[in-house]
């Protein structure tokens, strides 16, 4: 006969207010196999834990049930308690009588009855528990950072400074990301390039950092500490070792059709190009869709002009496969497609631009060399209207747009307005706003400067329609405070478009089995307490991929993610989860269904000699790699011959629980 102990926690009044804890403890005392049952105010406290330890020793318990909060909260605590008293930690079961009972019931008798049922189920299960021993797995001391914007760069630098190898995989030909495209940064108005490029250079020169640019992640397998990533390094058609980044090829290239991505397509570039002056790595790349050589087989002017002999038309994609202990997602964002908001005439006039486009128009390295001109005719503008919240804060059932506030638009719009007024005092600047949201250090002061010092015309209201009228843009909007419909004839309209996760995020999330929300932002393991970790072990989040944020917040989060990575990589081995699947080889019929549903690739099939009472011989059977299995149980419910079972959650145990509940 087994000896089971039951420990009912009050959790102060959290449980005790709705569950008669003494009645539960008393009732459990008469359950078969239970030799000890008690209640206590805070079972997780040191005194509470001592109570458990003493009972395990005094009554020689071989299994315990703690009726308390969710196992997510304190299962680990009580397992350690049991271990300290010499009991196998997997002989501990938690009956969740808080989240699943006291918090959702109001009626004491009802709550008490349910708590008893949950306790009986846990007792039934623990009787069928077997001691389990967790295996260990080694940690690969290298991190992979996906995305080379400011978030990815900062995380990589911090991890590398701690002495670990870091690879940054970046899909475009250069690192730098969105921040590299910005002109100035709020609220200090320092030049984005001036503060970013030193970090780019540092990342490039760091002996522990390896930049894998113009490359895309193709597949990730494995688990925390032991990921294997396959990366496709796209052909630049330029020999990285030979190219000096002199740029002669980019000037000589006769094709000028490629849209300049760095300038948001506001001007064109050669088919062979270097994204921008401070690009890192400073290497040319050939855009084959616009290259005359790739289209017709002729030309080759870049090749003739390259004194380094770096042009390699026949270069092919390269596949890199490498092991990593941790993966950091830093995939960043893009502005939403403004053409869905064509009531603002975005597709009808070149003079209607997004804020990021405006950023390029103001920048010295931009298409107009930093001289603010109308894109349509190059003339100096006299009136500019900014429209905020384009595509942000829309209801879930609206025809378009995002439900969330994009967070950065109020501040960058104030910045744009101020910069225009500073540089061109003759330009009238109007800003239509719903609310001006400026929580942040020195943020509201910044916005007030735009209003009070720079005379920016802030209008509370929204633009309903922008129409093209001759050379002007007729902006028709409401002014709520004066209850008027305004008609402002502007030379340019700037749309503060919402931001959304980079389109590659979804497929990367799937590859990593990292959960995402309905907006494709990555979900954190806990919104308050674990904000930089994905619920998937070994996956960390850095920057806007997790939610809208500005540069200081991004850098802070990047550092936090790095510290989590360092904590993981500093370990030599990780203790695994012993609650993994295993196949009963006698029952397995070799159908492969479990292999197909396993999200971790933990199941393989082998030809094996099997000896049983009814079968003796070689047959095809499933085999579980216990280091890879995460214990999700998908295989156990798929298996048609009940050969698959999960340790710690066996079919037997679960049926015993159900039986106890239905008794």
């Amino acid at each position: 006969m087994q000896k089971i102990g039951v420990f009912v926690c009050w959790c102060g009044s959290n449980i005790a207010a709705t569950v008669d804890v003494k009645a539960v403890a008393n009732a459990m005392r008469s359950e078969p196999g239970v030799v000890f049952s008690t209640d206590y105010q805070y079972m997780c406290s040191e005194n509470g834990q001592n109570l458990i330890k003493d009972a395990i020793r005094d009554y020689k318990l071989d299994g315990i049930v703690v009726c308390s909060c969710s196992p997510r909260m304190h299962e680990a605590t009580f397992r350690k308690t049991a271990m300290a008293a010499g009991l196998n930690p997997y002989m501990v079961e938690i009956a969740n009588i808080r989240e699943q009972c006291s918090w959702i019931h109001k009626d004491m008798p009802e709550g008490t009855e349910k708590a008893m049922v949950l306790a009986r189920a846990a007792i039934a299960k623990v009787k069928k528990n077997a001691p389990l021993t967790a295996g260990t797995s080694p940690v690969t001391k290298r991190a992979l950072v996906i995305g080379g914007g400011i978030a990815g760069i900062q995380t990589a630098l911090d991890v590398a400074d701690a002495g670990y190898e870091v690879d940054i995989v970046e899909k475009s030909p250069t690192i730098g990301g969105r921040m590299a495209q910005l002109d100035k940064t709020f609220p200090t108005l320092d030049c984005a390039a001036c503060i970013l490029t030193p970090k780019m250079v540092e990342a490039n020169q760091h002996e522990k950092i390896n930049l894998i640019t113009y490359s895309e992640l193709e597949n990730v397998s494995g688990f925390v500490g032991n990921f294997t990533a396959r990366i496709r390094k796209k052909a630049r058609h330029v020999d990285e070792k030979k190219c000096t980044g002199c740029g002669v090829c980019t000037e000589k290239c006769p094709s000028r059709k490629g849209l300049n991505e760095f300038n948001m397509g506001l001007n064109t570039r050669g088919a062979i190009y270097i994204p921008f002056a401070q690009a890192i790595p400073n290497l040319a790349v050939i855009d084959t869709s616009n290259c005359i050589h790739f289209k017709t087989g002729k030309c080759g002017i870049c090749e003739k002009n390259c004194s380094a002999g770096a042009i390699k038309f026949d270069q092919e994609d390269e596949i890199i496969e490498r092991k990593y202990g941790a993966i950091v997602v830093a995939t960043g964002f893009k502005p939403i497609d403004a053409s869905y908001f064509d009531e603002y005439a975005y597709t009808q006039s070149k003079d209607v631009v997004t804020s990021l486009e405006f950023e390029r128009l103001m920048n010295a390295a931009g298409p107009s060399k930093g001289v603010l001109v109308r894109p349509s005719d190059g003339e100096h503008p006299h009136d500019i209207t900014f429209i905020q919240c384009v595509g942000s804060r829309c209801s879930h059932d609206a025809t378009k747009g995002k439900e969330y506030c994009s967070k950065i638009c109020c501040m960058y719009t104030a910045k744009h307005a101020m910069l225009v007024r500073e540089k061109y005092p003759d330009v009238n600047v109007h800003v239509f706003y719903i609310d001006v949201r400026t929580p942040g250090k020195n943020f509201d002061e910044f916005y007030r400067r735009a209003v009070e010092q720079y005379d920016v015309d802030y209008i509370k209201g929204m633009v309903g329609k922008v129409t093209v009228e001759g050379k002007k843009l007729h902006v028709q909007g409401s002014s709520l405070l004066s209850n008027d419909q305004l008609h402002i004839y502007s030379d340019m309209v700037v749309l503060a478009t919402a931001i959304e996760p980079d389109p590659t995020a979804r497929s990367i999330g799937t590859m990593l089995t990292a959960s995402m929300d309905t907006n494709d932002f990555f979900t954190e393991a806990h919104p308050k307490l674990r904000p930089v970790e994905s619920p998937t072990a070994g996956i960390f989040l850095s920057g806007v991929c997790q939610g809208p944020k500005d540069i200081p917040e991004t850098v802070a989060q990047a550092g936090a993610a790095a510290s989590k990575v360092i904590g993981l990589l500093s370990k030599n081995e990780l203790v695994g989860n012993p609650c993994v699947a295993h196949a009963n080889e006698l029952l397995c019929n070799g159908c492969s269904q479990c292999e197909r549903v396993c999200p971790y690739g933990a199941i393989t099939y082998v030809e094996k000699e099997v000896r049983g009472p009814e079968f003796r011989g070689v047959k095809r059977v499933a085999q579980v790699n216990e280091a890879v299995c995460q214990g999700c149980g998908a295989c156990t419910v798929t298996c048609p011959s009940t050969a698959m079972d999960l340790k710690g959650f066996s079919n037997n145990q679960i049926i015993a629980e159900v039986d106890a509940i239905c008794r």
Partner: protein
């Protein structure tokens, strides 16, 4: 392909051209339009109040007739299309209306929104295909700059009408290209012509029309085309400052297809 056809009151009276050219062109393109029997006026405006039942019944009868024939219900007038399409959507989504309307109508079997409502332009785009129209065109309208006037009813609310991008539609522009002419994009093409307000407040309608026609003219248009008799009336009769010829799109299709000459030739 055979469609159940709902012409609507105005196409039998003041807008005979919209109907006649539409029928002849469809025939030439190999599309058969079978006018449904005993149809009643759709009511011209969609009853927006959520407690309106009786005002939706005539549209439901037309929808049920098409369902009975197992055909899609084709409309040509923008207003009829708007009303019938939205009532059909209500019959698919509004339990209260579905119950009460069926209780009242006592049809052989309850109507639950099974019919599909298709506008003539959607038929051209999705059934015939603009590429095929281009091939069938005998008299391309080369060099003519045409402003497509969508108005409100075909596009909005886009969630229900699902006709085209409500702010940046392309279907009529694609049609214009198919008949060999040049489409002109202008900002007011999806803004209201004033509609029925002409009866209540003529200056209000005139103001709307002037803005639309001016916007089209500024963009270089030589002509405006529409699918709606009321838009046609307003753009023509309520233009004060600026004026452009206004035609039904079916008339241009008819011309481009060269149906007249064919008939004369035969």
């Amino acid at each position: 392909m055979t469609y159940s056809y709902y012409p609507g009151c105005t196409l039998k009276t003041k807008a005979k051209d919209l109907d006649r050219y539409g029928r002849l062109s469809a025939e030439a393109l190999g599309v058969t339009l079978e006018e449904i029997e005993n149809w009643q006026c759709c009511g011209a405006v969609y009853p927006q109040a959520s407690d309106e039942i009786a005002t939706k019944l005539s549209a439901i009868r037309a929808l049920d007739a098409a369902k009975g024939k197992g055909q899609k219900l084709l409309t040509l007038c923008s207003a009829c299309h708007h009303v019938i399409k939205r009532v059909n959507h209500d019959m698919q989504t509004d339990d209260n209306l579905r119950l009460k309307a069926n209780n009242y109508l006592k049809l052989d079997e309850p109507y639950l929104g099974e019919a599909e409502v298709v506008h003539y332009l959607e038929m051209l785009r999705d059934e015939v295909g603009f590429d095929n129209i281009k091939k069938a065109v005998k008299n391309p309208l080369k060099g003519v700059k045409i402003a497509a006037y969508y108005g409100c009813l075909l596009l909005r609310p886009s969630g229900v009408m699902a006709f085209d991008n409500p702010e940046c539609p392309t279907i009529i522009e694609d049609f214009i290209k198919a008949i060999g002419a040049t489409p002109v994009i202008y900002s007011q093409r999806n803004e209201c012509c004033g509609g029925y307000i002409s009866l209540e407040d003529k200056p209000q309608a005139q103001k709307r029309v002037d803005a639309i026609v001016k916007s089209a003219m500024d963009a270089g248009a030589e002509m405006i085309i529409t699918a709606c008799p009321l838009c046609m009336y307003n753009l023509d009769a309520n233009a004060t400052e600026h004026r452009l010829p206004v035609k039904y799109f079916t008339e241009l299709l008819y011309q481009a297809l060269g149906i007249e000459e064919e008939k004369e030739g035969a």
